[in-house]
Amino acid sequence: MSNTKDFIVEELKNQIAGFKTEVKEQTVGTVIEVGDGIVRISGLSDVMMSEMIEFKSADNRQDTPNEAKNQVYGVVLNLEEDSVGAIVLGNFESIKEGDTVVSLKKILEVPVGDNVVGRVINPLGEALDGKGKLDTDKFYPIEKIAPGVITREPVNKPVQTGIKAVDSMIPIGRGQRELIIGDRQIGKSAIAIDTIINQKGENMKCVYVAIGQKESKIASIVAKLKEHGAMDYTTIVLTGASDPASLSYIAPYAGCAIAEYFLDKGEDVLIVYDDLSKHAVAYREISLLLRRPPGREAYPGDVFYLHSRLLERSCKLSKQYGGGSITALPIIETQAGDVSAYIPTNVISITDGQIYLEPDLFYQGNRPAVNAGLSVSRVGSAAQIKAMKKVAGKMRLETAQYRELAAFAQFGSDLDEETIQKLERGKRLVEIFKQDQYEPLPVAKQVLIFFSAISGLLDSVPVEKIRQFEKDLYNYADTSGENVLNEISEKQEIDKNLEEKMKKLVNDYKDTLDYLLKDDISKN
C-alpha cells in the first residue's frame, strides 16, 4: 500500500519539477458588443485575419464546474479601424460585454488523420458520435490556397457512381467538381449517398459534409452507410440546423481540410457538400451581422469567392505531386426549379458540369429524376472506360431522339414503322434508367444492360416487364455469366468476341422466359 503511495508522491514530484511556467506577453482585447454569433472586440491590435481567438469570460476565471468551463473559440473576420469583428464558434450565450479575449496566434485548424475515418464530427473536430475524443495530433488549416497549375493534370480515372443515368450520360472523373442541383425532396442527397456506397473497394476515401441539415436526416444517412459498410471509409462533418451559422460557415472548409490530408498521402477522395445554398445563407447571416454591405439577394459581394475558393481545392494532382485527387459533389437546392437565381448560377459556373434533377420526371416515377438534356459533364468523358463510352454514346443519341419523337407523337397516331420502333426502344431506355435508392450498380452490369438495349435485345421484352427483366438478368449473369462480367471489368473494352458473348448470355436468359413479345426479330 505504502509502495503505491510512495510511487504516487514520487511521480507527482517529478511532474511538478518538470513543470515550468512561462510568463508570456499576450495580446488581449475586450468584448464591446455581442450579437447573434458575432462579437465586436476592442484592442487586439496585432491580430491577423482569420486568426483564432479565445474568450475568457469572467465566469471561467472563478472555480466553475468543468463542463461550464468549456472554452469558447472564435475566428477574426473583420479588421476595422478601432474594432475587430469575429464569429463565435460555439456557445455565444456565455460571452458577455467586457469579457477578455486572447489571440492564439494561429489560423483556425482542424484535426486530421486516419483516425477521423468512420467518425461523425463537427467542423472543429469534436466527436458527435459518442465514440470519444479524436485521437490524432495532426492539424490542417481550414483555409488553404488551392493547388496551382503545374501540380495538376486532367482527369483520367472515373468515379463510378453506380447510378446508370449518371455513369452513362454524365460521367464523373476523379478530381472533377460535379454539381447536383434540383428542388427540395427530389433525390439530390440520394445520388451523393449512392455514390459513397458504391465506392466500396474502389480505394476511395469519402467525406460527407452536412451543412445546416436536420440531425434526423443525418442519423438515417449514417445508419444507411453503416448498413452498407460504407462508414469504413467515410467521414461525416456535421453542422445541424440548430448550430450557429459560424459553424455552418466553416464546415465545408473543415471537410476539405480533412480531404486534403488524404490527398497529400496520394489517395483519392470524394467529398460531398450538402448543401452549399445553406452555406451561402449562413455566410449571408454572418456578413450582415458584421455589417458588410449586402448585394444581390442580400448576399455579400464575395459570395462567389466563398464557393470558388472552396471548389478550386478539388483537384487531380499529377504523378510528381503524389497523384491524389479530390472529387467534389456540391449540392445546390433551387427554389421551384429556378436555376437562374444568384447562388445556383454562381456554382454552375464554377463547377465542371451539373446533374440537374427535375420535379416533373420525379413525379412521373423516373427516379433518379436526372434531366439528361440539361445535365452535362464537361470533363468526365475523358475518364469514362472504353466499354461504357461505346454503349453510352449510342444511348445518349437514342434517348435524345426518343424525347423529340415522343413530344411529336403525342399529336398523331399514324406513325410509320421506323418511328414506332424508335419510340418503343426509347420507352425501354427510360425504363432502364430507373433505379432504386441504395442500389448502386457495378459498371460491368451497366455495360451489359446498355449493350442489350442498344443492340435491340430488349425490344421483345414488354416495357412494363423491363425492370423485372433487368433484375433477373443480373441474377442470371451472376450465376452463369460470371466470366462475361469479369471480362468486361478487366478489359474495360468491348471487342467482337465479347460482343458475341454478351449477346449469347442475354439470349440464353431470354430463352428461359415466357413473357416475351411474339414478333421477336432481334434474334435473327
Binding site: 511532474q15 511538478i16 513543470f19 511556467t21 510568463v23 508570456k24 506577453e25 499576450q26 495580446t27 488581449v28 482585447g29 484592442g43 487586439l44 491590435s45 479601424e81 478601432d82
Partner: protein, 133 residues
C-alpha cells in the same frame, strides 16, 4: 461626411504640438468653437480619450496597470517600470497600482492591449491543467 473623434484628436494634436503655453488657450478656444459649429460638442469625451492616446504615442508614454496580491514597495515598482519601458520601447512609464488578493502572489502587468500574467494563480491553474492531461 462626419468627422470622427479620432480625426478631431489628430487635428488638435497637430495644432498644439510645439506651441508655447500662452498660445494654447487661444487654440483650444478656437477648437471648441469649431466643435460647436459642427454640433460635435457631444463627441468631446471621445476626443479627449483619443487625444490622450495620440499624445502618449507621440511622446512615447505608456500607461501601465500593475495588479498584485500585496502592496508593492517602491524599488519593485521601479524595476517593473523599467521592465515595461524595455518591453514597449517607451521613454516614460506612468503606472497605477491595484491590489487584488485572489491573485495569491506575483504580478499582472497590463499596458495598452498587452497583458503579462505572472500571477501565482494563473501558474497554479496551468499546473492543474497539465496534471489533468
Amino acid at each position: 461626411m462626419d468627422i470622427t473623434p479620432k480625426q478631431y484628436a489628430a487635428a488638435l494634436y497637430d495644432s498644439v504640438k510645439e506651441k508655447k503655453k500662452n498660445n494654447l488657450k487661444a487654440i483650444l478656444k478656437e477648437f471648441v468653437k469649431f466643435l460647436a459649429v459642427n454640433n460635435d460638442i457631444l463627441k468631446s469625451e471621445k476626443i479627449i480619450l483619443e487625444f490622450e492616446k495620440i499624445w502618449n504615442k507621440k511622446n512615447k508614454i505608456v500607461e501601465a496597470e500593475i495588479i498584485s496580491a500585496d502592496v508593492l514597495d517602491k524599488p519593485t515598482v521601479k524595476l517593473l517600470k523599467e521592465y515595461i519601458a524595455k518591453l514597449s520601447g517607451a521613454e516614460q512609464v506612468f503606472s497605477s497600482q491595484l491590489v487584488e488578493k485572489n491573485l495569491l502572489g506575483g504580478v499582472v502587468v497590463k499596458y495598452g492591449d498587452k497583458i503579462i500574467d505572472g500571477s501565482l494563480k494563473t501558474r497554479l491553474n496551468n499546473l492543474k491543467e497539465e496534471m489533468i492531461k
